[in-house]
Symmetry: C2
Subunit: 337 residues, 2 copies
Amino acid sequence: MINKETVVTEVALRDGSHAISHSFTVDQVTQVVKALDDANVPFIEVSHGDGLGGSSIQYGFSKTDEMKLIEASVGSTKNSAISVLLLPGIGTVKELKEAHQLGAKMVRVATHVTEADVSKQHISLGKELGMETVGFLMMSHMVPAEKLLEQAQLMESYGADTVYVVDSAGALLPHEVRTRIKLLKENLTVNVGFHAHNNLSLAMANTLAAIEEGATRIDGSVRCLGAGAGNTQTEVLVSVLERMNIQTGIDVYKMMDLAEELVAPILPEPQEITKGSLVLGYAGVYSSFLLHAYRAAEKYHLDPRDILIELGNRKVVGGQEDMIIDVASELAGYKIS
Amino acid sequence: MINKETVVTEVALRDGSHAISHSFTVDQVTQVVKALDDANVPFIEVSHGDGLGGSSIQYGFSKTDEMKLIEASVGSTKNSAISVLLLPGIGTVKELKEAHQLGAKMVRVATHVTEADVSKQHISLGKELGMETVGFLMMSHMVPAEKLLEQAQLMESYGADTVYVVDSAGALLPHEVRTRIKLLKENLTVNVGFHAHNNLSLAMANTLAAIEEGATRIDGSVRCLGAGAGNTQTEVLVSVLERMNIQTGIDVYKMMDLAEELVAPILPEPQEITKGSLVLGYAGVYSSFLLHAYRAAEKYHLDPRDILIELGNRKVVGGQEDMIIDVASELAGYKIS
C-alpha cells in the first residue's frame, strides 16, 4: 500500500476539526473515510484537532467522542490505514491504547520543535503496539535547521519510523523548507515528512520543495479543511503530482469528486487567507497569541501586528502568553515594572 | 515610483470583474483604488474582465460603464497609475483613446500566445499616446518556451515596454514557469512580467519562480479576486516578498487592511479551488470549454474530464468549440462522420 514515491496522509478529519469547532459527526466521518479509502489514500488521520484527549474546555469539546469517530473510520476502510495524533500532555497512554484497540494503525506523536524528548514514551509505546510511528515536530520555523535535526534525531532514536517537519504557523518560506528537509534527509535513516499550512499561500510551493529535497511523507487536507488558512489542498496536490509524474497511488478523479461532493458541504464557509491567518504566518506565531495581542494593542495604543512580529522575533512560545503584555509595554515605550 | 525590484500591478478590479459578473460600482472602485493608492501600489488595472469593450452579451454586460470606473479611478489616485487591458478584436482604438483621455497611463494588449501579431496596432498606438505599454501573452502554457519567445519578440518589436507570460488557465508548473521566464530574460531587452492563476494552488509558487528567474513585473489580486480560482493574492505576495527582502514599495499593513475591510465584502463568497477550476488547470483548457464538455460527456456517456484533458493534449483553442463534440465522439469509440 505504501510503496509509492509520495505517501499522503489526509488530515482534514483531524486538522480540519479546528475549522469546524470539533463538530464532526459519525455520519460525516464515515462518508468521507469511505470515499478516501475508495480513492486509495494511504493514511487518514482521525482525532480531535489537538490530538487524542483534546476534547476539553481549553481546546474545545468534541461534538462526538473521537473514539467513536476512530471506530467508525476503521470500520469504513478496506485499504487505507487510520492514523491518530497525540500531543504528550494532552493525550495519554490510555487513549493511545484505546485507539490502537479500535484499529488505528499509525500514531503521530507531536511536540514543540524543541521538546522532542517528551515524545519518547509514546513513540516507544506505538512501536510496542506494532503501530507505524511518526515524530511530528511542530512550529519547525522557530529553530535553525541544525537544531531541528538534533530534535529529529532524538525522535529517530526513540524508534520513530518517520519524522515530520511541521510548519504549524504556515511561516516557512520555500528555501527554508529546502534547507530543513535536505539536512534531515542527509542525516536520518528514517522517512522524512512535511506538513504545511497555507497562511502565506505557500503550502503547495513548500510541499513541492519538500518533495524535491526528498520528503516522502506528505500531509494534505481536502478542500484546505485545516486550522488557520488550511493545509496543502489534497485533491490539488494529487493532481499536481500526477502532472509531474510523481506517483501517489491515489485516484485523482475520485479525490476531485469527494472534495466537491462530501467535504465542501461540511465547511461552514470556504477556507481563504484572511487578515488573521496572514498575520500569524507573517509573524510566525501561535494562533493563541492573536486575541492577547489585540487586547494588549488596545491597551497600549499599538498595532497588534507590531506586537505579534516582535513576539515572533523573540521566539516566544505557547505558555509564555505573559510575555505579550511585556512586549506591548516595551514597544509603547514604557519601562517594564 | 517604479524604481522597485518587483513592480506590482493589482488586477482585482479587472480580472476580479469575472468573479462578480462585472458588477463593480463607482463607489466600490473608488474606495478600493483610494486604498491601493494609499498603500503605494504602482499600477491598478481597471477594465471589463475581458478588457476594454468587453461589456456585451457574449462576455457579460458591465453593471457600470468601464469608462466611468476608469475616470473615477484616475480621480482617486495620487501615486498609482491606472492601467487598462485591451484584447484586439474585443477592444478597439476608440476605447483605448478614450481611456487614455480619461487618464489611464498604461495599456496591456492581450493576445492568445500564438497571435502576438494582432497586437501591433494597439501597442503602437499606446506608445504614440505616451502610455506605458505591455504585451500580454495569454494561455502561455500551450506552447513551448521557444515559441513563446518568438511571440514575445514580436511584441517587443512593436514597442512594448514589457512582455508578460500569462498563465490564463493556472496550468503551468513551477519548472515550466522558470524555463519560460529564463528564456525571455536572456533574449529580450524589455521587462518581463508574470500573471498567475491559482487553479493548481501554484499561483504563489509560480510567481516566486518567475521573480527568481528575473521577472520584475508581477500581477496580483487582493483576496484572490480574479477569474477561476483567482490570482496570486496581492496582500500575501507583498508580505512574502517583504519576508524575502524583495522591495515592492508597497505598505504591507495597509494591504492587509484594505483586503479585509474593502475587498472581502465585495466577494459574494470567498475564492477557493473548486472542482471546476481544478479541472481547468489540470487539463489546461479555456474555461469556456467546461459547459460544452459537460454536455458532450452526457451525450456520449463519458467523464467530462477525459474530454477536457484530451482537448488540452490537442492544444485546442478558443473558437474551436466544434472540436469538443468530435473529441467526445472519438473517445466514445465512434467514428467521426
